[in-house]
């Protein structure tokens, strides 16, 4: 069963649908034409570029090229995590990279090599979408973990110092904030698993069904991806926070001001 193609005239028809919300927004006095235009244009160009790139990736199916793609994604995710968490890239770049690379490679390799077992483990059709989805979710988790940890620590600096004064090591003193940050990072994934399928059909499953897969197969892949997202988010946020502890404090266990971006 092949998915039906959307031909060019139909594609134009599709864009035409935007005229309806645009008209409604105009009617209620919201002048968003510019934003809408930019949004639709950017989406189209970016996805077209991804399309061209993915097409090449799939046609060549070269292990090195696939690896390079994953590397680039990891680097982009690294920068994006630190920017959104409000930490300075030059201090934490390596730590965050190690954390996400370890967890993504581990969970993707586990899923592809041990569970799915394609003829070639580097098959772009599997590793590209799976690693990408896992990474996307892992990224959210790491932003929450870092942001929450350092903002809570700064808010509770007196409490943290009190713990130090009472004989705690740096690790003992940060542990309550560490636990809270990891919990905040993985909670959305746990909650997502608990309500999966009730509220809406998960994106990947929908895609597979549209792509012609049996619903059962789509369900199994959805479970696989959720377990991998949960695993990699947990591992990455723990490694990331743990590595950052060695960077963010001075030798006297005081949080260094210069590692955090000024708001």
């Amino acid at each position: 069963m092949e998915t039906l193609d959307i031909k060019l005239p139909q594609m134009a028809l599709l864009y035409g649908l935007c005229l309806l919300p645009w008209f409604l927004l105009w009617l209620i006095g919201l002048r968003l034409s510019r934003d809408i235009g930019i949004g639709i244009l950017r989406m189209s160009i970016q996805l077209a570029l991804v399309g061209i790139y993915l097409k090449a990736l799939f046609d060549l199916n070269n292990p090195w090229l696939n690896g390079l793609w994953i590397l680039v994604m990891l680097l982009v995710a690294d920068l994006s995590i630190l920017r959104r968490a409000g930490l300075k890239t030059r201090y934490f770049m390596l730590a965050t990279f190690i954390a996400i690379a370890t967890s993504i490679l581990l969970s993707t390799a586990y899923l592809v090599i041990l569970v799915i077992q394609p003829t070639h483990f580097y098959d772009a059709r599997y590793i590209v979408p799976l690693a990408g989805m896992i990474l996307g979710n892992c990224l959210q988790g790491n932003v929450i973990a870092l942001e929450r940890f350092y903002s809570t620590l700064r808010k509770n600096e007196n409490e943290y110092t009190t713990f130090l004064m009472l004989g705690a090591t740096r690790w003992e003193a940060v542990r309550p904030y560490f636990r809270e940050a990891v919990k905040a990072a993985i909670n959305p994934t746990i909650a997502g698993m608990a309500t999966m399928g009730l509220v809406s059909l998960p994106g990947m499953m929908t895609g597979q069904i549209l792509g012609g897969s049996e619903p059962w197969l789509a369900v199994k892949y959805q479970i696989a991806i959720m377990i991998c997202i949960f695993t990699s988010t947990t591992i990455a946020s723990i490694i990331n926070l743990k590595l950052s502890l060695a960077i963010a404090f001075n030798a006297f266990d005081v949080l260094r001001d210069e590692v955090i971006k000024k708001p």
Partner: protein, 220 residues
């Protein structure tokens, strides 16, 4: 006798601003000393510097004649009790707050018995049922006495007090003064209290980060 604390020409800057300049003094075991001066003169910074919370620009801080370094800071902290105006108890109930430091590896083997808890509460004239009270529902003065109790349970000998007497009523003040009349305990305090000043062997005055006046045993 060697001093327990010695500041040797210590200067400290924080955020590009000088907060202590060329501060030198020594404190001997059992001594009670007081730092006074206007707010912002650097009194609390002296205490914080000793605890390694401000990086030194120049000079050396000695604790038992060992210089303050990243290696020695944990030892210094473990010998010292810092009690501020509104100490942070760091736990849900008062009992948990008192036992909090005994979760840490350094103190794990010295967990106090119920009898020791009762004794220290009595010494500070705190009712025994305070143990089960919620940390958020006790007054500033009680918090200070609990922080002090925690220091006593840890067997600390050096107490850094930051504006402690201001939150205490007359009766609790007396209790705290009596505790510190113990010649084994060394106290470095930031205070304005005249009664406390009388009990202090040394009084140092700070102005804009400089030690401007030193009184020893009441004499200038």
């Amino acid at each position: 006798m060697l001093p327990i604390i010695r500041f040797d020409q210590v200067s400290v800057t924080a955020h590009g601003k000088s907060i202590l300049s060329d501060v030198s003094f020594a404190l001997f075991a059992g001594e009670k000393a007081m730092l006074c001066g206007k707010s912002g003169s650097g009194k609390s910074s002296v205490l914080r510097t000793l605890l390694g919370l401000h990086p030194l620009k120049s000079g050396t801080v000695y604790f038992q004649e060992q210089p303050l370094t990243p290696e020695s800071v944990q030892f210094i902290r473990s010998c010292t009790a810092y009690i501020g105006q509104e100490p942070i108890l760091g736990a849900e109930s008062v009992r948990e707050a008192l036992l909090l430091p005994f979760q840490f590896k350094t103190h794990r083997d010295h967990r106090p018995t119920q009898a020791q808890l009762t004794e220290v509460l009595q010494r500070l004239q705190l009712p025994e049922d305070i143990l089960n009270r919620d940390s958020s529902r006790i007054s500033g003065g009680e918090k200070q006495r609990i922080a002090l109790a925690r220091g006593l349970l840890l067997g600390k000998k050096l107490y850094l007090l930051d504006e402690v007497t201001s939150a205490l009523d007359a009766e609790s003040k007396q209790v705290v003064f009596d505790v510190f009349s113990d010649p084994q305990l060394t106290v470095l305090s930031v205070a304005h209290d005249p009664e406390w000043m009388e009990r202090c062997g040394s009084v140092y005055e700070l102005e804009a980060g400089r030690l401007t006046q030193v009184k020893r045993n009441g004499n200038s």
